[in-house]
Symmetry: C2
Subunit: 512 residues, 2 copies
C-alpha cells in the first residue's frame, strides 16, 4: 500500500467520503488510488475557490468534513479566500495539498512555494507528511483536528514521494469529542443579568442559531424581555415556519449601531463580540453602545445550545412554541424590489430548501419577508471574501442531494468563481442560481459615502460592470447550465417554480 | 492632501501611470483620489488573478512597474498564484493592498486576515504604512524595491485610515540603478571553459534572452562550438527573423534530460540551474548530466547582456548576424497538429506581435516552427501556476497598445481567470485569444504516466472537461468579446487573419 492509498483508506475509515478536487501532477497517486479503493465521491472543480467554498458549505450542511485536493502552494493560494470564509464559519475541512517531493523541494523548482506558510493563517492544524508510513497517522490527526468542536481547517500537505512510496498504514482518528460544557458561573451571571430589568440582548452565533437552541433563546427572551440578535453573517441559521425568527445585526454601520442601541448588557452565545466590518471615519468600531457591558455565556467552542437550555431552566422560563409568522405570502408581482423578491422567494421555495446568500447589497432586506416560508436553512458569506456564493451552493447540493439549493448571487461577486456552474452541471446538482444583475459593485457606492469619499467619473467607473454588460445566460450556457433572463417578478416566479420542479441546475439572470 | 492622494502623486511622479485594480471598501479613498489627480490609467479587473497577471505582463513588456490595487488579505490571496508567476519571472510590481484601518485591525472584523504573512513569500519588500504622513515615503521605497534589478514584487499595505487621514506627503523614489557588472574572474572562467574543447552550453535566462544579448551568445557559440539553451519558461524571449533562434529546455522530464545530455559544463547566464518541474520516481531532479559541472557567468541580478558582450570580446569571437531561418511559411491547411498550428501562427502573426503562451501540452512543439515569423516577443508561464495566460495577454496589450497580442491558451487553464476577457472588451484591447480546446487536462494524462500511476475510470474522469463541454464562444460573448469556433486550420487561418486586421479583442475556439 502506498501513502496515497493509506490516505484514502484513512479518510474512508473515518467517515470522510467526499473530496472536492482540482488536482495536478503531485496529486496523481491520490487520484489513481481512488480507482483502486471504492467509496469516495470525487467532485472535480475547475478552480480552487470552488473546491474550498464547496468544502465549507458541505460542512455547514452535513456537519462532517469533506476533504479537498489542491495542487501545491499556488493551488492552495487560489483557494485561500474561501478557506478564510470557512475559518470564519468555523467549518471543519480536511484540506489536502499535494506538493513537491520532500527531496525535490530544496531544488526550488518553478512551482515550489511556501505552502505551509500560506496555509497557516486559515488553519487550526498544518502538517506536512514526512514519509509514506506517516501519511495515515498524519491524516488521522488532521481529521481529528478538523472535527474539533466547533470545527476548523486542518491542512495536510502531501509531498509527492510520501504519496507514491510504499509502506502506507491507514490511520485511525478518535471519534469527535462532545463540546465542552459551559460552567455554572457563566449561566448564573447571565441569569442575574436577565433578571436585572436592564436592557439585555442575547447575541447568537454558531450552534445557537439552530432550531432547538433558538427556541430556548426565545423562551428566555419571552420570559425576561431580552432581545435576540444574530451575527451579521451566520454560517447557517435554521429558519421558516415553526422556528424562531431572529434578525441579524445589519451590515451597514449606522443600521448596525441602531440595532444594538439602548442595550446595557450584551450576552454572547456561541458568538464573539460584534464589530464593524470596516472602520469608518468618526464611527465606532464596536457595535455595542459605549456603556453596554459584554458577557460570555458560551464561547464558540463551548456547548451553546446546552447553555441556553440550562439558562432557560435556571430562569424558570416556561416551554413555548415558536411564534406564528403569519400566512405564507403569495408570489409578488410587478416591479422588482428587494422586499418583493424576498416575498416571491418565501412563496415558492420548497420545504427544506438551502439558501446560499451572496446577494450583498440587494439582499439586506430579505430576512423579515421570509419568516413565513417553509422550514429552510440560510447560509451567509461569513468572512466577507466575495466569491463564496456559487461554490457554497455547489457544496451544499453535494451534501444534501435531496434538497433544493437556491443561490442568491450578486453579479459582481459571481465573477470570482463562476466555474462552480460547470461542476453543478457535471454533478447534476439541484441548484437554482439567481443572479441579481445590477451591473455594478453597488456595495461600494454605499461604502464611498460611508468613508466620506466623493466619487467622480474615474471612481464611478471602478464600480461599473456595464461596459460591457455581462450576459449571465450565455456564461451559464457556456458551462453547460441552462439559463433564462427575468425582467420582472412574474417572469422570475415562473422560472423559479419551473427550476424547482425539475432536477439539475438552472440559472436565472434577474435584471434588477 | 490625504494619504491616498500622496500615494497617487508618488506613483505618478515616479513614472507609474497604470494601475490594475479590483478595489473594495478599504480602497475607496485611493479610487476617489484618482478623480482629483489626472494621469493614472486605472484598469478594472473582475478578479484579482487578472490584476496580478496583468501587472506581471505589463512589466515584462514595458520594463517598468504597474501598480495593483487589491482589497484586504483575501483579495491579495486571490492574486497570489499570479504573483508567484511574476516572482518567478522577476517582474517588478508595486503591489498595493488596502486593508483594515490600523486601529480597527485588533478588533478582528470578519475580513481581517494575515495580509503581510500571505504577501511575504512572493514579495521582495513588504511594508504596511503606519500613518498618512508615511504613505508617500513608503510608496517611494516600494517603487525603488520593485525597480531593483532585475525586478521584484514590492507589497505596500495601505490601512484605510492612512489613506483617508490628512497629512500626506508625496515621496520621491531614487532612479533605478544599473545592474551590477559581472566580475572579470567569472568572464575569464567562462572563456577558459569555452576554449577547453569540452562540450559546453550557455544556459540563458532573463535579459540574456533579448535580441542583442542573444546575438552575443550566438557569436560565442559559433566561435567555440558551444550550445545555446534557454530556460524552460522564460519571462520574455525576443524571437523571429533577424534574431537568434534558441531552443528552450523542454518541460517533459525525458526530453529535458535529453536536451542537456553529453554536456560537461553548463554556464548560467541570467539563469539559475535547470531542475525538473516535479520529481518523478527514479528520475533525477537536476537536469544536467551527473558529470556536468555548473558555472555562473551572470546571476539573474547581474548584467547578463554586458557579460555576454565581454565574454565574446575575450574570446575574440567575430561579430556576425543572426542566422537566416529560411522562408516564412505559408499558412498550413487541413488537419490540426501542433506543428501545423505553429506554422499558421508564423505565417499570419503581424510584426512585433506579443505571444502569451499558456498552451501547456499542445504548445510544446511551437518553437521550431516559428523562427521564421516576423520579429515578436514570446512570454511564458514562468512559475507553473496555471491561470496566467489571459491575464498576461491583458496586461501586455495595456502596455503596448499598438501591438497585437496573441494568447495561446489551453482550455483547462483558461477557466481559472476567464474574467480577463471582460477587461479586454472594456479596454478594447488588441488581443486575439486562441483557446486550444481539447476538453481535458491533457498534461495530467502525461504526468500520470510519468509518475507510474495507472489511470482507471475515476482518475480519467478527473482529467476530463467534456462532461459537460465548455463552450468558449458563449463564455466570451457573455463577457462582451466576439468569438467564433474553428474546426480546422483553414477556418483558423481566416479567423486569425480577420482578428488581426480589426481593432479590439476576439476569441477563437480551436477544436483540437
Amino acid at each position: 500500500m502506498n501513502g496515497a492509498e493509506s490516505l484514502v483508506h484513512t479518510l474512508l475509515n473515518n467517515g470522510i467520503d467526499t473530496v472536492f478536487a482540482n488536482p495536478g501532477t503531485s496529486e496523481m497517486h491520490f487520484v489513481a488510488a481512488l480507482d483502486r479503493i471504492p467509496g469516495m465521491h470525487c467532485v472535480l472543480c475547475l478552480d480552487e475557490g470552488v473546491v474550498t467554498g464547496a468544502a465549507d458549505a458541505y460542512w455547514r450542511v452535513a456537519g462532517k468534513p469533506a476533504a479537498t485536493l489542491l495542487h501545491c502552494g499556488p493551488g492552495l493560494a487560489n483557494g485561500l479566500s474561501n478557506l478564510h470564509n470557512a475559518m470564519r464559519a468555523r467549518s471543519g475541512i480536511v484540506n489536502i495539498v499535494g506538493d513537491q517531493a520532500t527531496y525535490h523541494r530544496p531544488l526550488d523548482a518553478p512551482l515550489t512555494a511556501d505552502t505551509a506558510g500560506w496555509a497557516r493563517p486559515v488553519s487550526g492544524f498544518v502538517r506536512a507528511a514526512a514519509t509514506a508510513a506517516r501519511v495515515g497517522a498524519d491524516a488521522a490527526a488532521a481529521i481529528e483536528a478538523a472535527r474539533t468542536y466547533p470545527g476548523q481547517i486542518a491542512t495536510l500537505i502531501l509531498p509527492a514521494d510520501t504519496a507514491w512510496d510504499d509502506g502506507g498504514i491507514p490511520g485511525v482518528a478518535a471519534a469527535p469529542a462532545a463540546p465542552p460544557a459551559v460552567n455554572a458561573k457563566a449561566i448564573e451571571t447571565a441569569a442575574n443579568l436577565l433578571r436585572s430589568g436592564e436592557p439585555v440582548a442575547l447575541f447568537l452565533g454558531a450552534h445557537a442559531l439552530f432550531e432547538a437552541a433558538m427556541l430556548d433563546a426565545y423562551r428566555i427572551a419571552e420570559h425576561t424581555g431580552a432581545k435576540l440578535r444574530a451575527l451579521v453573517a451566520p454560517a447557517r441559521i435554521e429558519r421558516g415556519r415553526g422556528r424562531v425568527p431572529v434578525m441579524r445585526v445589519p451590515y451597514p454601520i449606522d443600521q448596525a449601531l441602531e440595532s444594538l442601541a439602548g442595550l446595557k448588557h450584551l450576552i454572547l452565545v456561541g458568538a464573539v463580540e460584534p464589530v464593524a466590518f470596516f472602520a469608518y471615519p468618526n464611527k465606532p468600531g464596536h457595535l455595542r453602545p459605549e456603556d453596554c457591558s459584554v458577557h460570555v455565556l458560551a464561547r464558540p467552542d463551548e456547548d451553546a445550545p446546552a447553555a441556553l437550555a440550562a439558562l432557560a431552566e435556571a430562569l424558570g422560563a416556561p416551554k413555548i412554541s415558536a411564534p406564528d409568522p403569519g400566512p405564507r405570502p403569495a408570489p409578488a408581482t410587478g416591479k422588482i424590489t428587494p422586499e418583493k423578491f424576498a416575498q416571491s422567494l418565501a412563496a415558492l421555495m420548497p420545504e427544506h430548501a438551502i439558501i446560499t446568500d451572496e446577494a450583498i447589497s440587494f439582499g439586506r432586506g430579505f430576512f423579515p419577508h421570509t419568516f413565513a416560508a417553509p422550514k429552510h436553512d440560510w447560509m451567509q458569506l461569513t468572512g466577507g471574501a466575495i466569491g463564496d456564493g456559487m461554490p457554497m451552493a455547489t457544496g451544499a447540493a453535494v451534501a444534501a442531494p435531496g434538497r433544493r439549493v437556491i443561490a442568491l448571487q450578486a453579479d459582481g461577486s459571481a465573477m470570482y468563481t463562476l466555474a462552480a456552474l460547470w461542476t453543478q452541471a457535471r454533478e447534476k446538482l439541484n441548484v437554482t442560481t439567481i443572479i441579481l444583475s445590477n451591473r455594478k459593485y453597488a456595495i461600494l457606492l454605499g461604502e464611498l459615502a460611508n468613508v466620506g469619499a466623493n466619487p467622480g467619473r474615474t471612481a464611478l467607473s471602478m464600480m461599473d460592470l456595464s461596459n460591457p454588460d455581462l450576459d449571465w445566460t450565455k456564461l451559464a450556457n457556456g458551462m453547460g447550465v441552462e439559463a433564462a433572463r427575468a425582467e420582472n417578478l412574474d417572469e422570475l416566479n415562473d422560472l423559479l417554480a419551473a427550476s424547482i420542479a425539475r432536477a439539475g441546475p438552472f440559472l436565472i439572470e434577474l435584471m434588477i
